[in-house]
Symmetry: C2
Subunit: 717 residues, 2 copies
Amino acid sequence: MEKINIIMLICVLAIALITIGYVFLIYHKIQRLKIVNKNVEDNAKFIRSGAITFLKREFKIIIPFVLIVACVFVALGFIPGFEKAEGVGWQSAICFIVGAAFSAGAGLVGMLSATNANSRTADAANNSGLGRALHVAFSGGAVLGLCVVGFGLLGLTGLFFGAYELIYLTNGNNQIDAVLEASHIITGYGLGCSMVALFGRVGGGIYTKCADVGADIVGKIEADIDEDDARNPATIADNVGDNVGDIAGMSSDLCESYVGSIVSAITLATVFLQQYRLDVDIRLVVFPLALAGVGILASIISVLIIRMREWKDPQKTLDIATYIAVGLVIVASVFLSIFYLKNGSEFMSVEGKAAPWAIGAVAAGLLCGIAVGKIAEIYTSSDYKTVKNIAKESETGHATNIISGFASGMKSTAATVVALALGIIIAYFCFGIYGIGLAAVGMLSTAGITISVDGYGPISDNAGGLAQMSGLRPEVREITDHLDAVGNTTAAVGKGFCTGSATFTALALILSYGKVSGLIADGGVKMSVDITPFVIGILIGAMVPFLFSALVINSVGKAANKMVLEIRRQFKEEPGILEGKVKPDYNKCIDIATKASLREMIVPGVIAVVTPIVVGVLLGREGLAALLIAALASSVMLAIFMANAGGAWDNAKKYIEQIGKKGTEAHHAAVTGDTVGDPLKDTAGPTMDILIKMMSVIALIMAPVLGEFSVWSLIVH
Amino acid sequence: MEKINIIMLICVLAIALITIGYVFLIYHKIQRLKIVNKNVEDNAKFIRSGAITFLKREFKIIIPFVLIVACVFVALGFIPGFEKAEGVGWQSAICFIVGAAFSAGAGLVGMLSATNANSRTADAANNSGLGRALHVAFSGGAVLGLCVVGFGLLGLTGLFFGAYELIYLTNGNNQIDAVLEASHIITGYGLGCSMVALFGRVGGGIYTKCADVGADIVGKIEADIDEDDARNPATIADNVGDNVGDIAGMSSDLCESYVGSIVSAITLATVFLQQYRLDVDIRLVVFPLALAGVGILASIISVLIIRMREWKDPQKTLDIATYIAVGLVIVASVFLSIFYLKNGSEFMSVEGKAAPWAIGAVAAGLLCGIAVGKIAEIYTSSDYKTVKNIAKESETGHATNIISGFASGMKSTAATVVALALGIIIAYFCFGIYGIGLAAVGMLSTAGITISVDGYGPISDNAGGLAQMSGLRPEVREITDHLDAVGNTTAAVGKGFCTGSATFTALALILSYGKVSGLIADGGVKMSVDITPFVIGILIGAMVPFLFSALVINSVGKAANKMVLEIRRQFKEEPGILEGKVKPDYNKCIDIATKASLREMIVPGVIAVVTPIVVGVLLGREGLAALLIAALASSVMLAIFMANAGGAWDNAKKYIEQIGKKGTEAHHAAVTGDTVGDPLKDTAGPTMDILIKMMSVIALIMAPVLGEFSVWSLIVH
């Protein structure tokens, strides 16, 4: 590689290491804060130990799974025809294991930080007020956000660089081949992240929602006690759920999105490299890593600025943090593309596209992400008419509440798809299919700050729970509620970012698949397919996200039902619980949630892995391409629909409470909507993007092997 | 044409005419039955006049719309490049108007028959018992079923034959060109049917569900009075809704499906004709019409057999009717393909497929339809575990009822898609893409009997309503409930048939589009597409059914809300209504439903027409192909999901009532589920298949004009 590439990679590694160092600094700062209130400390310990128990047991299931898959990769490497497949062979297997470990590590550190920060946020709200509480909660979120991107980029860049040097030095290979091979190998890293994320999201999602739904049904509707009331046996499980689902699961998930976008951009760059074999084109391979590095730096600076003083307005603080980061990334990417993507004094040019257009693709991605987030806000915030309308429909009962939320979620797909389509068109116009990859990286380049803001939500939520459980003054709950309300909107926006980036990343992966499988001829943009297996693949692809969601939602339903029966049993057998005289058996509920979620996460995981393999073998590479394309479209629709319907139901309930109608029939109906929305928006919805990326990566691995082979062609021809 | 083709067409025309004659015979037989009970007669008059008023006002909106579109077709025929487009020109415009008129006529006659049969069924149940009531209800359904297929086939065959003769004689053309041109022209007939069906389904669907949901919410949940209680002001509107939605709307819809399948099979046959230009291949064009004729004959025979005596078991009667028809069609199609598809003593052979394989494709279609129907039954009948499970989940409240119904509807897509995929594979294997067209025709060849069975449901439902309203003995209601319960299962199975046939028909239309647009090269099966506009088209295509459903469901929600407020107002302002002393103001509710449904049907209708045009112009023929493929996949998933979730919710409620838990909390929760399911299964779900076929036909019309042009290619190249 040219020297400039080596320097760039070292810089990125340095940034990643600095980030991780800074993460541990904040982490310890939070940990050193003394918790004054004894009750808060005790309850927080309960939550923390419940969360750690869950993660331990989850890892026990994931580790063998990861090792088996790694062995399969190693074994496949010895089978003729498979050697050249993406992600196959012992090198990729190592990357796979490292990816899984780093993704799990990001989740673990994030969760440890969150379970430290929640109690300290409640304590700060109790002792020092809003500003201090906001500071602690934001710092906890920053640990999460920065450690996800730090770990993700460190592993990816380190492995890429290491693999390159190893191949280049030991095999005496030409540097272009070394880059190509290194790029192939790191596909395994992305897959490792995806695998952990899939299980983490599904398992954590089922956990958090079965506890939440169960606690709500008996607590709010039947026993008429508030959320997070210490008398409810599922309260601790509900709060543990926030940490294992909204923190650990989300961290692994976003780590996967982040890594996935970079890997797919790199893969698209290697397409040029393979075709033209110009040394200078290696910069296109390194560029996504550099962009990610710039993004992390922007995120750190933004965190530093926010943490310098205590703010009073949560919404403003989070908005400023995001805008600083986005602004910095755009400025930095202008410099990067002008000074780095150059060949001598000339701009690089690939397939008629000059390098400065890269800025356009990056900006298209960032703006598209913001647009999708804004649309999510319009459909889910109580400032706009959709939520108010659902609140109004609640007055005529449970059914009209459900119907109107359902319809508005479906309707929200329209504007979102238009925004995504425009983003794709602009990115493509700027830099061809590589532009689509860049747009995905651009959209997620500020992930450090997006995740910080996202993670702040559940921390505040937990703090509120602790305040309630520990009997702190009502004003404390008001402070944490204020923090939490802002968190709800940011969560919806964050999900929009996730869906948007997943669309771009999956599209980039599918394009890579098209190139690698030979469906899209070299240098071309045309894909030629046999129409009948293609259409069958489309039908199956559209179906898989429905089946996957159904299984996940069913799991929540089943587990929540068990939870409801357990809570009812405790209330019935020990009347002292509701009178507040006897402590309920929290552990029983934690145990139900843990067991159910771990058992239920396996079947969906297997479906995600097995479907592309089966379809690929039966219908061939064309059927598999169709599967991916249709699964992308179907999962994007379901993800948007579920996230926005769920968010709107949630906020319609909050809105009804705000206008002082708590306890009315309308409020009961709105609680039903909120409860229905929970598994949609927090369990099934967020898994959609992992599902489609997981299937795409597996297809990418199979691509070179499939060739012309398929059962279909054997029968028909 | 060869003599055998002429004879065949004349036979088909004769069958269609005999069918219509037989329809009027039964119609008058029913009408001659005297209604003994005065109350029943009065209430029936109310329903009948409400339904007629609605249809009149609906036609007033549809007629100008149809005329405008017809003018556009005539005008387009003068624009260079468009002359050769499917359905364009004055001949097609005439076909379009005739198609619209016949489709509307089928709906009108069906509805007139149903509003005659409902009161006489109630009366027969009152005076003579189950056997006689079943006989009357089945006869009413048979009028519906046979008149839909009779009208549909008469118009199609008549226009095809007439156009052929005209072109052949006046222009002195070669007979192959005359067949090709006649086949092109009748595309307009299919589009006319589609247009009326779209409005009829959407308008009727909104009408029936806003009345039903409104009546249920206030009646069952708030005032705790039974369904169809005469004290409920929306009762008459609810019963009118059954007639305008489940009868008139469904009739037009199935007429459209029926005609659409034949038109698409003919279009696929012309592809061979165009390529090889062999006179004998004209038989492939005529074959779908002959198959449809055979199917009608089988349906008539089946109706005759059933009507010969009075049966005692409704389920058995309907099953026997269906099996007789299916058996007859299979036997007849064996003869037809062996004796008709022959060239001298040799079987015809196209692209390596010998003619007897046609039987395989037809059978694949029929069996696939039955399989899809059976799967629907498994997911929606209370004999199976899904419904029982939803009933169990209702015990923990409204939310768990909704969640489990939602999830099982999504899950049901999996088995259905597998059945469809197998059907497509077998049909394709038997006779290439023409086989897919034949499978669609095969599946719908027994439509005469399927619709009879389908139509029997709402007639029995109405009879039950009349019995309740008119204060007949409780045993009468038991008889009609027994009839109605069977109707619920047959409705779910009928919807399965509809979705299945729509998948095949739409697929056949899309394949025709591929051929006509030049995306699929002559004689080939490969489609070559520019990947980026294709993927954008996929995203938009997947979104349209979501948007369309959202709009339709929203319309129901809005209208139902108005209905609820009106019913509440009447109850509040006139307490005498609930005491049974004062008659409520039925007309006010009828008026609300009529106005709302007519206003709300326009926007979805426009979306269905405009989307393919806009996408075609912006993204070109490749983007349009993607739009169709993705819209097919997305709408099939939503149709299955909505039909089965709705059916399961409905029957879970009935199941809870059967096991004697009416009035419990679980029952209230189940009523919520049923109410949520209503607009899904009876409004949005059934419109999905019209939406996709409508878009496909419009694409087919645009195909030859689009060529290489698109805004996309202007910008990118």
